[in-house]
């Protein structure tokens, strides 16, 4: 009852006119920032943080929380419409969202992404409200071996269930991980893989450079080739009835939505994990448990629903350690944490007792922001569909410009733009030979998390890999990952002993 009464007080604060206006403004701005290739929630929250000094701390965090939610919704839009992930959290949405758009089902993919985001966000915020302190304690028991085991599981799903050429898939994972290792060695601080002593490599290779290169430049070059340069990108129509029909049809995916929401939330609360691994793991899990895994990557709606529900649930989960323990679960929450300090609040367990209006006003605002983000997102779907109807010779240069500007903005370095072009051209040439590109993008995102987890684990165990097997949670995850890795080996045996007729 205590929680309920505190939550009702929070709603009273969230529905104050100023705070409600901040929620609507934040969701709208966040949606557009998230939809821009190269800009995600972290950019939106960071850029607009100084503007929050104009309002009281509760309004400030409500505004930033709404931007965070809006951007999480918006990330799916460019993944589906342009084939370019708006942020790393929307990478997995591209795998099936883009094929759906190319099949003329962009409206269905956008509605699915919006609805799944709403379900993920709702589940996340309910879990946040009910189980905040105990869940934070569980997540904090995860050490390096468990985190590395989770990363391995994400890669294993691509190998075991990807359906692509295994050596090419593994090559793609390895090259993505190597690119993720470029820059300064995390332990010794020494330069590593600085090709040709070019200074631009010292800051590493931003995942967006590879993602935009592959999903922007290479995708456009591929589309230009297959369409002979004069086709429409795809056909799509939209109406209120179609939106409603799509929503009704989505009820079939409720299991995937709930799975993505719970998995995403739990991964989200792990320190240093966040929404990206959450969405990728949800995608992998949905594929692993599907009766038709071969349809993933070709426009399966569950492939949109799983990552979108997970990344929104994870974005809420990432706020849990931030608020309760003062430990950010993601880069965006790290900036929110910085904002709290600037506003004169000390994040941690005491904030719940010392500033209940602030905490519960913020939690209640997440419910409201989630609803407004859904409504605003659906309201703008016709505008996004309109973009698809442009002749390709208009859309292509606009996307190329977005790619170039989007590649520049994260690091403000022209070196990254040139690198993006190289990745785009090589990615296009490799794609023509059926090299899967998604595992490389997954690897460059997870590589900087996996390497320190592996090195710390081996340091703890004195170099013994048994540390990954003699801890119950890590061991269980490793066994599942090894089974998935071994699955392609059993496929020829299965075909031999149980031939298809």
């Amino acid at each position: 009852m205590d929680i309920l009464s505190l939550l009702f007080n929070g709603f009273a604060i969230a529905f104050e006119p100023l705070n409600l206006a901040l929620i609507i403004l934040g969701c709208t701005v966040g949606l557009f920032i998230g939809a821009m290739p190269g800009l995600g929630s972290v950019n939106g929250v960071a850029i607009l943080l100084p503007m929050t000094f104009l309002v009281p701390p509760t309004g400030a965090i409500i505004f930033l929380g709404a931007i965070y939610y809006g951007a999480m919704y918006g990330g799916a839009i460019s993944s589906i419409m342009l084939g370019i992930p708006g942020a790393s959290t929307a990478v997995a949405t591209t795998f099936d969202g883009r094929p759906m758009a190319l099949q003329g089902k962009a409206d269905k993919a956008l509605v699915a992404a919006a609805a799944a985001s709403f379900v993920g966000g709702s589940v996340g915020v309910v879990l946040f409200t009910l189980f905040a302190p105990p869940l934070a304690e569980v997540a904090l028991t995860f050490g390096s071996p468990e985190i590395f085991a989770l990363m391995l599981l994400a890669f294993a799903t691509f190998i075991g269930l990807g359906g692509d050429d295994i050596p090419k898939t593994m090559f793609s994972i390895f090259i993505g991980l190597v690119f993720g290792a470029v820059g300064l060695d995390i332990i010794s601080g020494e330069p590593r893989l600085i090709f040709g002593d070019i200074p631009g490599f010292f800051h590493g290779i931003n995942f967006l450079v590879l993602a935009i290169g592959i999903y922007g430049i290479a995708e456009m070059l591929w589309t230009i080739e297959i369409s002979k340069g004069n086709a429409m990108i795809s056909q799509a129509t939209i109406s209120v009835k179609r939106i409603w029909d799509n929503l009704v049809e989505l009820t079939r995916t409720w299991k995937t939505m709930l799975m993505g929401s719970f998995l995403g939330y739990f991964v989200g609360i792990l320190p240093a994990a966040g929404a990206t691994p959450g969405s990728l793991m949800a995608y992998g899990f949905a594929k692993a448990t599907s009766s038709e895994p071969e349809t993933y990557g070709k426009g399966n709606i569950n492939g949109v629903v799983a990552p979108e529900s997970a990344n929104n649930a994870a974005s809420t989960g990432a706020m849990l350690p931030m608020l309760t323990l003062g430990i950010p679960g993601s880069p965006t929450t790290a900036i929110l944490l910085g904002g709290m300090v600037i506003w004169g609040l000390e994040p941690g367990p005491l904030v719940f007792t010392d500033h209940p209006d602030f905490v519960w006003g913020f939690i209640a605002s997440l419910y409201v922001a989630n609803l407004f983000a859904l409504l605003i997102n659906i309201a703008f779907i016709p505008a996004f569909i309109w973009v698809l109807k442009m002749p390709f010779t208009i859309l292509a240069p606009v996307i190329f410009i977005l790619c170039v500007v989007g590649g520049f903005v994260p690091t403000m370095d022209m070196h990254d733009v040139w690198l993006m072009l190289v990745f785009g051209v090589v990615g296009y040439l490799m794609r023509k030979l059926d090299y899967p590109m998604a595992p490389a993008v997954l690897a460059i995102v997870l590589g900087p998390l996996a390497e320190p987890a592996l090195r710390q684990s081996l340091l703890i165990s004195g170099g013994s890999f048994s540390i990954f097997f003699n801890r119950p949670v890590a061991g269980s995850i490793m066994v599942i990952a090894l089974i998935l890795l071994a699955m392609p080996t059993f496929k020829p045996l299965k075909n031999r002993f149980f031939p298809k007729h």
């Binding site: 050429d165 090559f171 190597v178 208009i394």
Partner: protein, 165 residues
């Protein structure tokens, strides 16, 4: 297509060897008290890449993959022309960012692409070439305060920034 599959595996195999050599500039073995050396992670990953390249070449020789059996042309003359035109235009766009800046490069790229590659009217081309840089400027420089390269046009923007700030 068949020859391209082999050439790609050889090229990527050579790149893997280069990555292994670069990684070995840092220790790749176990350092007592410190754990694996800084080069170990990329070195063994690059070694994994090399093994994959051998596997791809082996499957090519055995004609296991569709690409290794395909007699199709990897890129016909029309595809090659489109590829070179687009990559060339993109290279020019990025190169012009250094010289004329984003707000000179974007209209020039749009004029080339819309008018000469797309065959659109001057009215549509001019509208896009005029509106796109303005929208880009307002969104990135004013709303998000992200500065794009301006090349030699940098001083021209001072009065505009004075107006906004």
């Amino acid at each position: 297509m068949r020859m391209a599959e082999l050439v790609m595996s050889i090229f990527m195999g050579a790149f893997s060897l280069y990555l292994m050599w670069k990684s070995a500039e840092l220790p790749i073995g176990w350092i007592p008290g410190e754990g694996p050396g800084g080069g170990a992670w990329p070195f063994w990953l690059a070694a994994g890449m090399l093994v994959c390249c051998f596997a791809i070449a082996y499957r090519w020789a055995k004609r296991i993959t569709p690409e290794s059996r395909s007699e199709e042309v990897y890129m016909d003359s029309r595809a090659l022309k489109l590829f070179l035109l687009n990559v060339g235009a993109l290279t020019a766009l990025i190169g012009l960012f250094h010289i004329t800046g984003a707000y000179g490069a974007i209209p020039l790229f749009l004029i080339f692409y819309l008018r000469f590659m797309g065959g659109h009217s001057w009215l549509l081309t001019g509208t896009f070439a005029f509106v796109t840089p303005i929208a880009t400027f307002l969104f990135f420089e004013i709303a998000l305060q992200k500065t794009l390269p301006k090349g030699f046009t940098d001083p021209w923007f001072e009065p505009i920034f004075d107006f906004f700030y």
